[in-house]
Structure formats: C-alpha cells, structure tokens
C-alpha cells in the first residue's frame, strides 16, 4: 500500500485560520499546547497565521534557556513552522513596547517562499494594533486557547 497524502475532501475550500497567542510561555501550558495544535492543523493545507499580542510576545523572545526550571524549551519549534508552510507570524508592536521589547529581541524565524525561487524570508511581521485588528477581521476562523 502506498503512503499517499490524505485526500482533501473539499480541495477548493481554503480558509484563513488565525491562532491567537496571548500568554507567556512557561507559567501555564497554554502556549506549548497552542503550538502543538498549530503543528497538527498545518497538515490540513489551510491558510494559517499566528498572532502574538499581550504576554504572547514573550513566547518568541530569543535566548530562552530552561535548563534550570526542568521544562522543555519549545521556542526553537517556532523556527520549524516555515517547513509546515506557516509563514505569517503577526506580532503586535504596542504589546512589544509595553513590555520593553524591540523586534531585535525576538527569535529569527524564516520561511522559504516557493513563489520567489525559495528565497528565505522573515516570517515575523510587526504590525500595529490597528493593522492587527483588520487582519483579524479578515479571518474565517480565529482560535484562542
């Protein structure tokens, strides 16, 4: 039996899915669980994006080292999202500023653009609150945990 991709029963229907991340990474399990759901959902060939706002911006701060708290550092997994064709990570500018963070404090997350000769491009897009509001309004499905 060949290992074929599962057939999409509605091949023409691609919806815009947004996962909203509003929580810090280690104090609760929500951040890690959301990332797991994103990776599972990536198998369904939909138009997926992630939003990071409020304490969610802390999830993608670089330089995380969890060796002394006995928990898994899952921040490197965000860098694998590009391989799952998840290439839109919207980060709210105001949330960064309120937390004393700058774009340089964030992980380097990239994807390869198949429409541009697989050029490597940044997945993180800093947007202000007004822009994020519009992006949210344009979704078909918004998931928060």
């Amino acid at each position: 039996m060949s290992m074929e991709e599962p057939e999409n029963t509605h091949p023409d229907v691609i919806k815009k899915f947004m996962y909203v991340n509003r929580r810090a990474p280690y104090g609760t399990v929500y951040a890690l669980e959301t990332l797991e759901v994103v990776l599972i959902g990536a198998a369904f060939d939909q138009d997926v994006s992630l939003a990071f706002l409020d304490d969610g911006v802390f999830q993608i701060v670089k330089g995380q080292d969890t060796t002394q708290i006995g928990m898994k550092n899952f921040s490197p997994t965000f860098r694998a999202l590009g391989d799952y064709e998840v290439s839109k990570l919207y980060v709210e500018k105001e949330s960064l500023e309120e937390r004393g963070l700058a774009p340089d404090d964030l992980l380097e997350i990239t994807y390869e653009d198949e429409d541009d000769d697989w050029a490597e491009k940044p997945s993180i897009r800093i947007v202000d609150r007004t822009e994020l509001t519009k992006i949210m309004a344009a979704q078909d499905v918004i998931l928060s945990f």
Binding site: Q64, Q68, E98, R99, G100
Partner: protein
C-alpha cells in the same frame, strides 16, 4: 515582623504584583518567580510600580525563571537582585512570614 512576598503572575495579565505592592510594609521583601519575573523588566508599562517602592521594600527575582524566559540581566530594573534557588530558601528562612500572591 517582616514578610517575604512571592509573586508568580505577569504584571501585564494579573493584578497580583499591584496587590502585593499595595499591601507590603516598609522592610518587607518581594521575590518575583515564574511569570512574576516579567515584573522585574525595566522600561515597561509596569516598571513604575516597583520603582515606586524600591526605597523601602527589597526586590528579588529568581534567576532560573529569568533565564528560562530569555530575560537578560541587562534588561532588569535597577535595584532588583537576582537570586538562585538556595538564596530563595535563605530568604524564606530570614523572614517570619511568607505570603504568596497567586
């Protein structure tokens, strides 16, 4: 009678830090742990809260929790002392009471 207060919630999400500061007496100590360590960041919307009590309350942040969250020492508010687990135990022993702001 001095109290060691522990705060384990982010000041951007919960009011635990503010309530703690509103109920801390001069001479008390506050240790920021877990997501509470975000309260130790300088130049944030919450930085003023700690700065306002810095002259009469001692502030500590748990190093392993800072490290896990990628919070570099350079971005900490001035006057917040970073401690390890052993020093956290010492602080508990040094104070008559511990109060957890959950």
């Amino acid at each position: 009678m001095s109290i060691l207060h522990t705060v384990n919630k982010s000041p951007f999400e919960k009011t635990a830090l503010q309530s703690c500061l509103d109920h801390a007496s001069p001479g008390d100590a506050v240790i920021l742990i877990e997501d509470g360590v975000y309260g130790a960041l300088s130049r944030t919307a919450a930085s003023e809260r700690i700065a306002a009590r810095m002259n009469e309350v001692s502030f500590y942040a748990l190093g392993p929790d800072l490290l896990a969250r990628g919070v570099a020492n350079g971005s900490l508010a001035e006057g917040v002392k970073v401690v390890d687990y052993g020093e956290f135990v010492d602080l508990v022993a040094e104070h008559e009471l511990a109060q957890a702001w959950l």
